[in-house]
Amino acid sequence: MGGVHPEENKISNDAAIEVMPVGKQMVVLMNQHLGAPATPVVQKGDKVKVGQLIGEAQAFMCANVHSPVSGTVLKIDTCKDAFGISKPAVYINVEGDEWLETIDRTPDIKRECTLEPKEIVAKLKEMGIVGLGGATFPAHIKYSIPEGKKAEYLIINAAECEPYLTSDLRVMLEHAEEICIGISILRKALGVPAAYVGIESNKPQAIKVMTETASRFEGIVIEPLKVKYPQGAEKQLINAITGRKVPSGKLPIDVGCVVSNVGTTFAVYEAIQKNKPLIENILTVTGKELPSQHNYIVRIGTTYNEIIAHSIGQLPETTGKVISGGTMMGKAVANLDAPTVKGNASVLVIGEKEARRNPETACIRCGKCMNACPMGLEPYLFSALVKNGRTDESRQHNILDCIECGCCYFSCPANKPLLDEIRLGKNRVRAAMAAKK
């Protein structure tokens, strides 16, 4: 149901993953995941090594944060994130590159995993692994299946349906074996017979490499998917692979599914087999107007400006927007001095002309937004309800089911900011529900 076909623009497909050098100072935000910020466990003047725990998860919905560099803690303060919002952060002066001894830095691939499912989940928590598909949901919570529910399918999202992004593709091409080991570990943690990897059929190289590698592993099935945005959205992917539908207001586990991003499986491999915490992002630097296209391994905490300076020198004069994420669901970065955080998948530079929103005109009731909506909602209706402050009615029409994929705005011939209005409506509904409690 629904979906659109935006221009793919995967122009950084062929750029191999490079390693970005470490800067002079790193700012590590304590809130890099969905949920409460981690509590700093280092103090000013402490010496830290790469991979050392600096922020501990004390709340339930929280993830550990580790130092991406070695050096001295300069201060514990706040730092403005990419959207200008101040968040608690640890500032570290970089000195050398000394890693914790426990981390295995050799390039050898370690295939055997002897850990029990519970130990695997505990280690995911210890290593601060979060979902790298964009929502940064703490992995240890996702893989702790609640009482009374049973996982039947493990689904790996390798669709990468967002335009421009190529980091998942590059990881699959360069680290297929590690990914398959990571998938096997997650499969073991859940105790499911098979894992399904969904890859859009516009990535034949990835399908080929992954199929070849997966044939050497037990219980990994590669599923080529139809090319359509948002094919990689959790509920759409579950439907495409298992035929099941996640009911309104329910989670994937309610239909026996657990979905993880392919980038997460690589992080899981490194965490479980190599003892390496999540301290790096694989990130695409791309844009039609850039002189060169790149894919990088970047230490978390490197600022957008440092990434831009290293990869392309400076932004082109005609830059309209810098986006973190793809063109459909990514967010425009307002503060380029902000450090990158877990789950950042790209630095996408969009030209002025492409970035400009066309002027909004009146709704002509053409219904394109309804056809485009993958959740079967009525975006034009929400637009009217939100404008008139009819919060209760928008809840009755399931506004909270919106996955914010942006298909409605993309397809609207009147250029109405439908997604913005729906987001506003969702906020109001949530606020009203919270007030009722």
Binding site: G84, I85, N335
Partner: protein
């Protein structure tokens, strides 16, 4: 032919009389007893249904007044003392006197203050923009400039200043109903006493960042230095969360703090143009009243 017409008229007329009788009997039988005082009170209210009193509308306010029998805790801001006196007369109780108030916009990102650091092109709604990022000025506490307050005002008393991007309150039209203060997602707008001779002094900033950070964000931000607190003879100024606040019930509008403020975050409104410049701040002194004019007058 004539007969047909006469029959039709007679039948319809008879039906009309019959229904009138039925309706009259039903109306008498199911009559809702209502205090006629409610209608009388509702008649003297302004009828704008602004909701500033916290009730659903003017009639609901009238019902509340009559039910309570006095005006304690009930006040119609748009009506002011005149309406309060009339309602009190109808109810036969003491007049609830209140100091007249006005909405005050406590932000000053003028073109020289907080420069624009980004361009926002999304939905023209402050409530939405507030959930996306800090806004064009980069100040996480400052005005977002989409005009939710303008849309909320029933009295056409608040308008966006295209030059500064911050709303301006028309003090003559403002009825202090508080709709704009509720609409502002950043709680920048506050209802303050109008003050004697319409003269008032207030801190035109709600930035709670630490001093150095606030200064980086905006040239006119309150940095919580405490100079105003020390100079105030009435003890009306308190500093909390790196932010100064002037208690309008204690302030005597002496304007010592206005001169003292190093960032010109304290504005004065309604004073005549300064005849002689105060010596403490010779050069930037005129900037403060001028800025005040743009934000609050």
């Amino acid at each position: 032919m004539t007969n047909d017409i006469l029959i039709a008229v007679a039948v319809l007329g008879a039906l009309g009389i019959l229904f009138a009788v039925v309706l009259f009997i039903v109306a008498q039988k199911f009559k809702v007893e209502e205090n006629p005082l409610i209608d009388e009170v509702a008649d003297v209210l302004p009828g704008a249904n602004c909701g500033g009193c916290g009730k659903a509308g003017c009639r609901a306010f009238a019902e509340a007044c009559v039910q309570q029998g006095n005006m304690e805790g009930l006040r119609c801001a748009p009506g002011g003392d005149a309406v309060a006196a009339k309602v009190a007369e109808l109810l036969g109780c003491a007049v609830a006197q209140g100091e007249p108030q006005v909405a005050v916009v406590r932000c000053n990102p003028s073109c020289k203050g907080a420069s624009r650091r980004s361009n926002y092109d999304g939905l023209r709604s402050c409530a939405f923009q507030n959930t996306v990022y800090t806004g064009e000025s980069g100040c996480p506490f400052g005005c977002l400039g989409c005009g939710d307050c303008v849309a909320a005002c029933q009295f056409d008393a608040i308008k966006m200043d295209p030059e500064t991007g911050v709303p301006v309150v028309d003090a003559d039209r403002c009825t202090a109903c508080g709709a704009c203060a509720k609409a502002c997602p950043r709680r920048i707008i506050e209802l303050r006493n109008k003050g004697r001779k319409d003269r008032r002094v207030f801190v035109s900033c709600v930035n709670k960042e630490k001093g150095a950070q606030a200064r980086k964000t905006c040239d006119n931000a309150c940095i919580g230095c405490g100079k105003c607190e020390k100079v105030c003879p009435m003890g009306a100024i308190t500093i909390a969360d790196n932010l100064s606040y002037i208690d309008f019930t204690k302030c005597i509008a002496c304007r010592k703090c206005v001169v003292e403020c190093p960032t010109h975050a304290i504005h004065d409104v309604g004073f005549p143009a300064p005849a002689k410049k105060p010596e403490a701040a010779p050069a930037p002194a005129p900037a403060a009243p001028q800025a005040a004019k743009t934000t609050a007058e």
